[in-house]
Every structure is written in C-alpha cells, then in structure tokens.
C-alpha cells in the first residue's frame, strides 16, 4: 500500500524539485562552502580591503578621510621608529620561532616516550597555551619586576648578582625577556602538534631502520625528521604569523619601551591608530606587515617543499 502511494506521489511530482536541486553535488557543495566564505569575506576580507583603503587616506578619528595615495607609506619610510619596529619584529619573530621549534620538537620527542603520568603531563603541558595571554603575562610582569622578581631574588640569595639584572629596563634584556615569555607561551602548541605528528609515524619504519643499522640519531635524522617535515612547516607557518603580529604580550609587559626597543608592528600601529587617532597612518604600519610575512611564508614553502625524485 505504501509502495503504491509512493509511486503515485512520484508520478505527480513536477519536473523541477527544489529538494532535488539542492541535493545536486554542484549546488550542495557550494551551499556548504557558502557560510565559511561569507564569514571570511565579512570578517577577514572586508576589514583587510577596508584597511588598504584607509591606509591610502589621511583619516583622523571621527572625520572623513582624504585620499593621499602612498603618503602614509612614504612617511613610514622616513620614520626612524618604523625601521626600529621592523628590526625588532624580525628579531622577535626569528628568535622566538627558532626557540619554539627546537624546544617544541625536543618536548614532543620526550612526550612520545612511555612514562608514568604521561597523559597528565601532556595535559599540563598545554597550560601556558590555555591560560589567557594577558593573565599569564601579568604573572610574568611580577617575575620580571625589578623589586619583586623571583629570579632576581634567587640570584641575590645565591650571591650570583646584586642587584639582579633589569629584565625590562635594559633594551637588550627587555627584548630577550619578551622572546622568552613568547617561547614559553608558544612551546605547547609546537610540542602537542609535533607529538601528534610523531604518533602517526609507523613503528615499522623505525624497526626497518634499526635493522639497517641506524642508531638513535640515524633514526631521528632519516625517519622522524623527514616524516615530520610537513607538520613542522605548518606549525612554523602558524607560529611565524602569530609571533610576527604579536600584541598582547608586548603591550602588557613593556608597551614597546624602553625607548622603542621592543615596539613591534602591532603595538606601534595600535599606538598610532588608537593612541594618536590616525587611522590612515596606523593602517599603513599594520599593512606593512603583509609583504614581509608573505615573503617569509613563501620562502618557507619553497624550502620545505618535498624534494622531487
């Protein structure tokens, strides 16, 4: 009975059915892609292109902008602080990324071993990454504080230094401290991602390598590293982007001081746009991040490309 009814219903259906049309692969596929595309266009694409448009204007807060072409970029070019910011950003990004890469890989290799409380340790490892940056940075502010620094207290108690180093007052130490804090925060991201990568490597490969006479180093060099390469690339790319455009950590700890020694693109752009109220100039500084970032990522992509046999 049901079958008969169904069949008759089918016969009565018009040639075009919206439901069927939706189910067509070409349509359904686009439909599924549409929300993220709309999301990206609205929240990434639009601000990005609006940023470009603003960077070409003299645009004070709450006032209409005047098109000035590349004037803002030319001003940046002649601004000595801008070049200091460029240098700072590169030093910060390169040093912190390298430290995170080496440290993260080491940590991942350790975490990949079998030991008691392995899972708990792995979970705890993520803590620096989970705690909101502003909060953990405030803790660091105390650790690096001249009067209350626990490091300086330890140094003084053991007679190694008196007074202790000025972690945020000395321009070089300030940059060093920021790199350390950034590394501390970013290490778990590297470690956990690389650990996931390590776990996908088949033990058989290690066995085969061992039979072929490879030692620990040999196994790492010829099995682990090549297989991890794509993951290292992805993680490093993310890390470079995040570190290059870091803001919170620096803003909380030094606000770019002392004497601009730790100003990076994001903090400087913020000061100019939101502080001085000059959106055009601020946007031009922020946008100046794009070409070097694109170049770094391109260079990395080329370097990490799997060798063609």
């Amino acid at each position: 009975m049901t079958a008969v009814l169904a069949a008759s219903a089918e016969r009565r259906r018009p040639a075009f059915s919206f439901g069927r049309w939706l189910e067509r692969e070409g349509v359904f596929g686009w439909l599924m892609v549409a929300p993220p595309v709309v999301f990206l266009v609205a929240l990434v694409g639009y601000p990005f292109f609006y940023g470009i448009w603003i960077s070409l204007q003299d645009r004070p807060v709450a006032k209409p902008g005047v098109f000035v072409g590349l004037d803002n970029f030319i001003n940046d070019w002649h601004d000595p602080v801008f070049w200091q910011v460029v240098a700072n950003t590169f030093v910060y990004t390169i040093a912190a990324t390298l430290l995170k890469m080496v440290g993260g890989l080491g940590l991942a290799l350790v975490m990949n071993q079998d030991f008691r409380f392995k899972n708990l340790t792995r979970a705890l490892l993520l803590l620096p990454f989970i705690v909101p940056t502003v909060l953990s940075t405030i803790a660091w502010q105390w650790i690096l504080d001249p009067a209350f620094s626990v490091i300086n207290w330890a140094l003084m108690a053991t007679g190694l230094a008196n007074p202790g180093p000025s972690w945020l007052g000395n321009p070089y130490l300030a940059m060093f401290s920021l790199i350390m804090v950034n590394t501390w925060r970013g290490l778990p991201f590297y470690a956990i991602t690389l650990l996931a990568g390590l776990q996908t490597i088949s033990p058989e490969l290690y066995e085969a390598a061992t039979i072929d006479g490879a030692g620990r180093w040999g196994r790492f060099r010829y099995v682990t590293l090549p297989l991890l390469k794509p993951i290292i690339f992805i993680v490093t790319m993310f890390s470079v982007i995040f570190t290059f455009s870091d803001f919170q950590l620096i803003y909380v700890l030094t606000r770019g001081g002392p004497a601009n020694a730790t100003h990076v693109f994001a903090t400087y752009a913020f000061d100019i746009a939101m502080g001085a109220g000059q959106f055009g100039q601020g946007a031009s500084i922020a946008l100046s991040m794009v070409p070097p970032l694109a170049l770094i990522i391109l260079a990395m992509a080329i370097y990490m490309r799997p060798a063609k046999s």
């Binding site: 004070p60 807060v61 709450a62 006032k63 001003n75 002649h78 601004d79 000595p80 602080v81 504080d145 001249p146 009067a147 209350f148 007074p163 000025s166 972690w167 945020l168 007052g169 000395n170 321009p171 300030a174 030094t254 606000r255 770019g256 001081g257 002392p258 004497a259 601009n260 000061d271 100019i272 939101m274 502080g275 001085a276 109220g277 000059q278 100039q281």
Partner: protein
C-alpha cells in the same frame, strides 16, 4: 600610577586634537520617553568617587528630571579605545559639541576658571568640554630618609634635588622616575624638566620646530646625570605601576606621581604614610613647571539629545553636585574653579595642597603650541620621553636631539 585621567586627557587629545581632555560623553537620549543619558567614565582610583555618582548623583538627577543617567565605567587604560570606537560610530565634523555657553555660566557661578582650564579644552575660541579636575603630578618623597641625608624640606631646584639624590642613593635609597612607555608618570616630570630649562618642542605658532636648542641639550645633560647618579637601570623600562610599587615597597625615596601613592600608603601602610610628603616640581633655570592632566566632561556630536546632555553637565557642575563629588575624592581631582581654592577638602590632607598650587604652572604636552593632531602623534610616539630615555641609556645628547628633531619635523610636516 595615576592613570585615569592622565590617560583620558591624552587619549582624547590624541584622538581629537581638540584638547578636550576627559571622560564624560553624554550620549543618546534616543526614544521620546523615558530619556536616558550615558556617562562614560574611566574607573576612578578612588572607588567611592564612582559609587557616589552611581548612588547619589545619578538618582538625584533622575528624581529631579526623570532622566536616567547610566554610569559606564571603563577600565583604566581602555578609555581611549572606547572613545575612539564611540566617536567612530557617531558622525559629524567635530567629535565634541561646543559647550562654551554653559562653561561661561559655570565659571561665573563658581569663582571663575583657572587659566589652565582653558588651555585644556578651548579650541579656536570654543570650549569643547567642561574641565572637571586636574590629576596633578608632583614630587612624592620620603621625609625620614631625606632628613637622614640632611634635608628638612624638599629641594627647591633640580640641581639641589640631584645633590640630595646622590646622597640618598649612596645611603641605599635611590630615586625612581619613570623613563619608559607608561602614559603618565614619565610625562609628569620630563616635560616640566624640559620646560624648566627653557626647552620646547614647537613654537607657539605650532609650526616652527625648536627642539634643537642649547636649552634642550642642558635639560638632557641634566637628565642623564640625574638618572645615572640617583637612579637605577630599571626605570628605563617602567610603566605607570612600577614607581608606585617601588615606592610602597621602600625601594625608592622619591618619584613623580599623583596623589595615589599617599592614598595607598594611608590605606595599606599607615606607618609609611606618616613619612611621605608631596611637593611641587623643582625649579630649573627658566622656572617651575607641572604637567596638566585634566579630567573633562564632553558631549559627543552624535549625541541625539545634545541639550539634555548639556543640561545634565550644567546641573552636575553646580556647587551642590560638583562640590560633593570633589569632596568624595578629597582633592584627588583638583578643581579648575577658584570657588574651591579654600574648600574644606584641602584641610583634610594639607600635604595635598601643592597640587592646588601647581595648577598655576601646569601645561599640556606640546605647550606653548596650540592643540593639534601633531601633538597627539608626538605623545603617541613618545618623542620627548624617548629623547630623554635614549640619552640616559647611553646615546649622545646631539644624537637624541637630532632623532627627536627628525621625528618632530616629520610629524609637523615641517621642513
């Protein structure tokens, strides 16, 4: 750390170049009834001050007029972002409404305005905000340690202060003046220092860059010596919280700050509070100067019912309301109106009196040039602060002046 309005002053300065410094942004009485206004205010260092507005003033106004006043507290340091956002969401050629009419009335009613009030908010002859109070930056010092070094009163000149600092540092009580990228305690002494040696960034015409002068060089040379012989390296990286912490933890014997150190000490370290005093900044060869940190109330141009906002401000600044609000904060906000010169609040803590007297010699950064966008950019780029800081960190006077001159020329688009 005084943060609050120092921040707000500079923010608004920076944002608008109007010089309307401060917080209140009367906004939107949108629907016909019931009407409401929103007052955006940076959270005060003095908690009862915020509570008094919410509990007393707002409800009194609602009772009298039927208009509800929302008090929106913005955390210290984020007012600037909020104001920028609010202004961006509005429209209009200017950001703030001309409030000259009520400013004149308020002045007449309360003994007249201090000159510095006008310097804070008057742009092209128009009052763009109603100055409420100044958060002065003065010398905070330990009387017991100074006494041990042979000083019964605070040194009158920078040179004498240097001399005292050398002795105190030797005795294990260095000075600590902020030279980093904070938003207030660095400006609080470096601009006055520059001015007291006769140095200026720009002429009063707002165009001619005059930072490259013998006077500036002398101020820098003094600052370097002052830093090396009385302080320690950390101050180069300090932001506004550091000097408060250092002072209250007995690491330093003198700093430049608002009333907040004495406030905190009275609350948390009553014994220490007994040996803290506050004095005007020392004199230089060209006089004595202070930083102007006005907290002002302005009305956004996008406020729909501007009259309601202005009426509210007018009411707020009448002696029964303003006087009570000043009283709650006990001179933390120093009134710009002469009627309060001898108000009873000054007798509550006589050590705060120098803050009142400092108003006469207080100026905004960029003085004597009129307010402009370029000035805001100069502050955001820490041009003057870094000029001194770089000299203290080891660069030559010539180099740091050349750097500052280059930056100022670029900022002021001068040749």
């Amino acid at each position: 750390m005084v943060a609050h309005s120092r921040q707000s002053r500079r923010d608004v300065l920076k944002l608008t170049a109007l010089g309307a410094a401060g917080t209140l942004l009367g906004s939107a009485a949108t629907q016909a009834a019931p009407k409401s206004l929103t007052m955006m205010h940076e959270s005060s260092f003095v908690p009862p001050y915020d509570a008094f507005f919410k509990n007393q003033l707002a409800s009194a106004y609602e009772k009298a007029t039927g208009i509800k006043v929302n008090y929106e507290v913005v955390s210290v340091g984020s007012l600037q972002t909020r104001v920028t956002t609010a202004a961006e969401n509005g429209s209009g050629p200017d950001k703030f409404v001309d409030v000259s009419d009520i400013a004149v009335e308020i002045g007449k009613e309360s003994g007249g305005w201090y000159e510095s009030a006008q310097e804070s908010v008057v742009v092209n002859g128009k009052w763009k905000a109603i100055p409420f109070g100044n958060i002065g930056q003065l010398m905070n010092w330990r009387t017991d340690w100074f006494k041990e070094a042979g000083y019964d009163k605070f040194p009158d000149t920078w040179d004498e202060l240097l001399e005292a600092g050398i002795k105190l540092k030797k005795a294990g009580h260095p000075f600590g003046f902020e030279l980093g990228h904070g938003f207030g305690d660095n400006h609080g002494w470096l601009y006055p220092l520059l001015w007291s040696y006769g140095g200026r960034e720009v002429e009063a015409d707002g165009k001619t860059i005059v930072i490259d002068s013998d006077e500036t060089a002398r101020a820098i040379d003094f600052c370097r010596k002052f830093f090396k012989e009385t302080m320690f390296e950390d101050v180069l990286g300090w932001t506004d919280v550091n000097n408060n912490k250092a002072f209250l933890s007995e690491q330093i014997s003198c700093t430049n700050n608002a009333e907040s150190i004495l406030w905190s000490a009275k609350r948390d370290f009553p014994d220490m509070a007994k040996v803290i005093d506050q004095s005007e900044n020392p004199k230089g060869p060209k006089g004595r100067f202070h930083m102007l940190n006005p907290l002002c109330h302005a009305v956004f141009t996008h406020t729909q019912d501007q009259k309601a906002a202005k009426d509210f401000l007018r009411w707020l600044m009448a002696p029964p309301q303003a006087g009570a609000w000043y009283d709650i904060a006990v001179t933390y906000y120093q009134p710009f109106l002469h009627a309060y010169d001898d108000a009873p609040m000054w007798k509550v803590e006589p050590r705060n009196l120098p803050y009142r007297d400092a108003l006469k010699t207080a100026h905004l950064p960029g003085w004597p040039a009129p307010l402009s966008r370029a000035q805001s950019e100069t502050i955001a780029k820490f041009v003057v602060i870094d000029m001194f800081a770089k000299a203290c960190a080891g660069k030559s006077t010539k180099e740091v002046i050349a750097d500052a001159q280059g930056q100022l020329k670029q900022i002021y688009r001068a040749t």
